[in-house]
C-alpha cells in the first residue's frame, strides 16, 4: 500500500490528480495491446503478404492478391455459403426455441420448481465445450450411440448423424443448441421477469387472442432480450469452430467446412496469407453485423 501511495504521488505530480489512473489501467492496456491489438494488426498485415515469406523478417507485400485469391477459391466460397446458411439456421432455431421455452418456464403453469429446469438448461453453458461435444460425437455413433438406441427404442427410423452430409448440419445444430441455448433462455427469462403485467391484463380485457397478445404486447417488450440474443447468437454461430474440430473435422466431404475452420486449416498448412485474409473478412463481417444490428435495434420502433 505504501509503495502504491508513493507511485501514486509521483504520477499525481506529473499528470495531475488523475495520473494514478494510468497506473491502474497499465496492466489492462498492456494485455489488450500485446494479446489483442498486436496480433490483430499482425494478422491484417500478414493478409497482404505472400504466404511463403509471411514469417520471414522481410515479407513480400502482394497487395490484395490474397483476397482476390480466396474470393476465387471455390472451396472458400462454398465455405462462406455454408457458414452463412448454418448461422441463419442456428440463430433462428436457437432464438425461437429459447423464446418459447423461456415463456413456458416463466408462465404460471409451472408455479413451483421452474428454477430446477432453468438450472438444467444452463448447465451445458458452463461445461467445457470439448468435453460436451466429445460426448455428443459418441452419442451419434452408429454402433452404440445413445441417439440411435433411443430412436430405436421408441420405434423411430435411424438418424445418420454426423456420418452423412444430409444429416450432419442437423446433428451439429442439435449439439450446439444443447451447449448454447441455456444462455439465450436465461436472457429471455430475465426479460420476462420484467414484463408489465398490467398490459397483459388489458389485452385480456380486450379479449385479444393468444397470437395477437403475443405479437402486440409481449414481443415488443422483449426487445432488449431479442437484441442481445440476436447479436450474441449471430457472432457465436458465425464463429462456429470447436464443434467442427471435435465432431466433424469439416466433413463428411466439405459439408461442415465453415470459414473459421477452413481458415485454421489453411494456417496449419502454412497458407498464412490466405488464412489471415479469411480471418479479416470474417472479422469485418462480424463487426458490420454487430454495429448494424445495434443501430437497427436502437432506431426501429417495433410497435
Amino acid at each position: 500500500m505504501s509503495t502504491l501511495t508513493a507511485v501514486g504521488n509521483h504520477l499525481t505530480l506529473r499528470f495531475g490528480k488523475n495520473g494514478i489512473f494510468y497506473l491502474f489501467a497499465a496492466p489492462f492496456a498492456i494485455l489488450t495491446i500485446v494479446m489483442g491489438l498486436w496480433p490483430i494488426a499482425l494478422s491484417i498485415q500478414t493478409s497482404f503478404t505472400d504466404s511463403y515469406t509471411a514469417l520471414s523478417p522481410q515479407p513480400t507485400y502482394v497487395g490484395f492478391s490474397n483476397y482476390i485469391k480466396i474470393f476465387n477459391d471455390p472451396v472458400f466460397l462454398k465455405s462462406a455459403y455454408l457458414t452463412v446458411r448454418y448461422t441463419l439456421l442456428a440463430v433462428v432455431a436457437n432464438l425461437t426455441i429459447a423464446l418459447f421455452y423461456a415463456m413456458f418456464l416463466s408462465s404460471t403453469i409451472l408455479s413451483r420448481g421452474a428454477w430446477i429446469f432453468k438450472l438444467c438448461c444452463f448447465l451445458p453453458v458452463v461445461t467445457p465445450d470439448v468435453a460436451g461435444y466429445i460426448v455428443w460425437k459418441w452419442m451419434y455413433s452408429n454402433d452404440f450411440g445413445a441417439v440411435n438406441a433411443i430412436l430405436g427404442a421408441i420405434g423411430l427410423p435411424e438418424f445418420a448423424g454426423v456420418s452423412s452430409p444430409s444429416s450432419v448440419t442437423a446433428a451439429i445444430l442439435i449439439a450446439e443448441m444443447w451447449y448454447h441455448i441455456g444462455f439465450y433462455v436465461v436472457i429471455f427469462l430475465a426479460n420476462f421477469a420484467m414484463l408489465d403485467k398490467s398490459l397483459d391484463d388489458a389485452a385480456q380485457m380486450d379479449n385479444a387472442g393468444f397470437w395477437r397478445k403475443f405479437t402486440r404486447v409481449t414481443l415488443p417488450q422483449l426487445r432488449p432480450a431479442i437484441t442481445i440474443n440476436s447479436i450474441y447468437a449471430l457472432i457465436q454461430f458465425l464463429k462456429t469452430f470447436t464443434v467442427i474440430v471435435v465432431v466433424t473435422k469439416g466433413g463428411p466431404g466439405t459439408s461442415t467446412n465453415f470459414v473459421s475452420y477452413y481458415a485454421y486449416r489453411q494456417f496449419d498448412q502454412a497458407q498464412y496469407g490466405e488464412a489471415t485474409a479469411m480471418a479479416t473478412v470474417l472479422f469485418a463481417t462480424i463487426m458490420l453485423l454487430a454495429f448494424g444490428l445495434y443501430w437497427f435495434n436502437q432506431r426501429k420502433d417495433w410497435r
Binding site: 500500500m1 502504491l4 501511495t5 501514486g8 504521488n9 499525481t12 488523475n18 494514478i20 489512473f21 489501467a25 496492466p27 489492462f28 492496456a29 494485455l31 489488450t32 494479446m35 489483442g36 496480433p39 490483430i40 499482425l42 494478422s43 514469417l55 413456458f104 403453469i109 429446469f117 438444467c120 438448461c121 444452463f122 448447465l123 453453458v125 458452463v126 461445461t127 467445457p128 465445450d129 470439448v130 468435453a131 460436451g132 466429445i134 460426448v135 455428443w136 460425437k137 452419442m139 452404440f144 445413445a146 441455456g182 436472457i187 430475465a190 458465425l238 464463429k239 470447436t242 471435435v246 473459421s260 481458415a263 485454421y264 488464412a275 489471415t276 479469411m278 480471418a279 462480424i286 463487426m287
Partner: protein
Amino acid sequence: MKHSLPIKLLAYAAATLVSVFFVFPYLWMVSASFKSTEAILTRPLQLIPDVISFKAYESLAIMSGIPLSTYVWNSLWITFASTIFTLVTTAFGAYALYRAPKLPGFNILRVGFLLVIMYPYMLLILPVYLVMFKLGLLGTMTGIILFLSVGPIQFFLFEQFFRSIPHEVIEAAQMDNASEAKILLRVVAPMSRPVVMTVTLITILLNWAQWFPVLVISRSTDTYTLPVALLSLNSELGVNFQGIMALATLTTAPVVVIYLLTQKYVIEGMISGAVKG
C-alpha cells in the same frame, strides 16, 4: 390464473423431458466411463451398469507418456493464475476507465478493447502464435496464462458494478482529501466483494474450459490441460472409448460441482456481463 391438474402435470412432464435432454449426456458419459466394452455394445442405454469397472480410469494414469497428474496440475495452475491475473487487470482497468474516462488515451483503449473482443477468438489465436514466438513465450505456461487473462465479460461486469456506486460515496471521500489509492482500497474495494466473487467464479469456469489457446501456444504435451489432453486422446487412432468418457468426466466434474454450489452467482453474473457487452 388457475390451471387444472392435468394441464399442470402435462406442463411438468414437458419441462422434465426438455431437462432430460440437457442432463442426459452427462449421465451417459459418467455411466460409459464405468462400463465394460461388452455392456456398452449390448446395452447402450443402461445407465447403471451391472458391473462397475474402474479400468477406464486406470488407463488414464499415463497418457502420451505423461502422468494424468501433470495435466491436472497444469489445469489447476493455469486456471488459478489466469483467474488472478484476469481479476487484477480487468478490475483496475475498468475502475480507471470508469473514474477517469476523459484521460488522454483512455478512449482509444476502450475502442481497442472492443475491437479485440469482436475479433473471432479462434482466429485471434493464430496470430497470437506469432506474437508468442516473437516474445519467446511459445510453449510456456506464462504465455498461456497471459493470453487467457484477456477478459471481456469480466471487464464489463466490473465496469457495470463501478457505475452502480453512488457518486456521493466517492465525492464524500474526495472531500476528506483522501488520495485515489485510499479511495480505491478503503472505500471501493470493501463494497466490491460480491462482484469479485462473481467474476472469480465465472473466470474459473471459463478458463478451466479453454483448449485452443493452450493447444496453439503449447509446444509439447508438457503444458497441456485436461480439455486438451481429452481432445488429443479423442483423436488417437486406437480408440479407448471408456477412457475418453472417463477423462471427459474428470474434466467436467469440477465445473459441475462449482456450478451447482454457486449457480445463482454464475447465472446472474454471466447474464449481466453479456447484457452490458
